[in-house]
Amino acid sequence: MNVGQFLAIFISSVFVSNVILSRFLGLCSFIAISKETRPALAMSSAVLFVITMSSAITWVIYRYLLIPFDLAYLRTISFILVIAAFVQLVEMVIRKFMPALYRVFGIYLPLITVNCAVLGVAVLNSDMFFSKGRPLPGSFQLSIFQGICVGIGYALAMLLMSAIRERLEYSRVPESVREFPLAFVTASLMSLSFMGFNGFKF
């Protein structure tokens, strides 16, 4: 485990294989909520928090429950249930103790359970940082770091997109491409520019 490894994960998750623009995870929320900047920011912070926490929780489940008992084939079921339970718990805690915060991003929390980005990162972590049922050195830290970076990549794409779409509201476009089609074509151009980071080498 060294700094270079962390740097490579950062560049790869935020820019080169951006969770939305290149891996297409969390696309539904990306298209649906990116119409204005404020909700986009609230959604991104909720996703960042949930992805980071669920990366840690699913790593522990995978390492200490599924692998020792030879249950790795239950990965999909156990991960989605753990994520759903965790999101529910967070929602209840926030509603009880932080009503102001709940008003900002509480309504987005139930949506996050079925956000493919969260489950995607959990599955990706268990694919990348475990080899033949054994964790690689420093895999716990790497998993959490990858969760944070994917969350940052999500927030970056979401903010850029919402800023562009706020401007697009005022432009005159053909009726049939208004809203979704135009959003996808915009995302395509953004994705093209993000691919420019592909040549980065360390």
Partner: protein
Amino acid sequence: MKLPAEFLKGIIRQNPIFVLALGLCPVLAVSTSVSNALGMGAAATFVLVGSNCIISLIKNVVPDKIRIPCFIVVIATFVTIAELVMRAYSPALNRALGIYVPLIVVNCMVLGRAEAFASRRPFLGSLADGLGMGAGFTLGLALISSIRELLGAGELLGYTLFPGFKPALMMALPPGALLVIGMMLGFFNLLKGRKE
């Protein structure tokens, strides 16, 4: 209730990809080649049909408050079956589809059909709905992937169609997927506008 109608509506009038815009993540990610797309379509259809059938059978037993977690467990079971079968019988396809097979669990299309249709309809109707939605999903995937494979690699199912045609690599990369789906959605909107 007419079973053929339940089946046919998923193919064009309520096509999950182009009309309902559901389940787009795997559509964009695996549509790089037609063979990948057909594999994904088969897996998603299997999960849709299986979960629709089971959910319509257990809908009266499941308490209303915890129905979503119950549905997710049913769906995840079928996804695990699909994943294990795929890994056993066609490892190459499994490698090509990668993490997008387990991600069928969180595909909004499957959960959406369970919640909107199977949880309040009888068994046979849900079966027909699952088959129709699966067929519509597979057809849409095949359409997008053939456009992308043709323009991005100059091939269709691995065969070169136009010798001497210089493929545009961009179409095989992520931006191409977003561009094609944007254009297709716009085209379908245009058709809908004409009809009205």
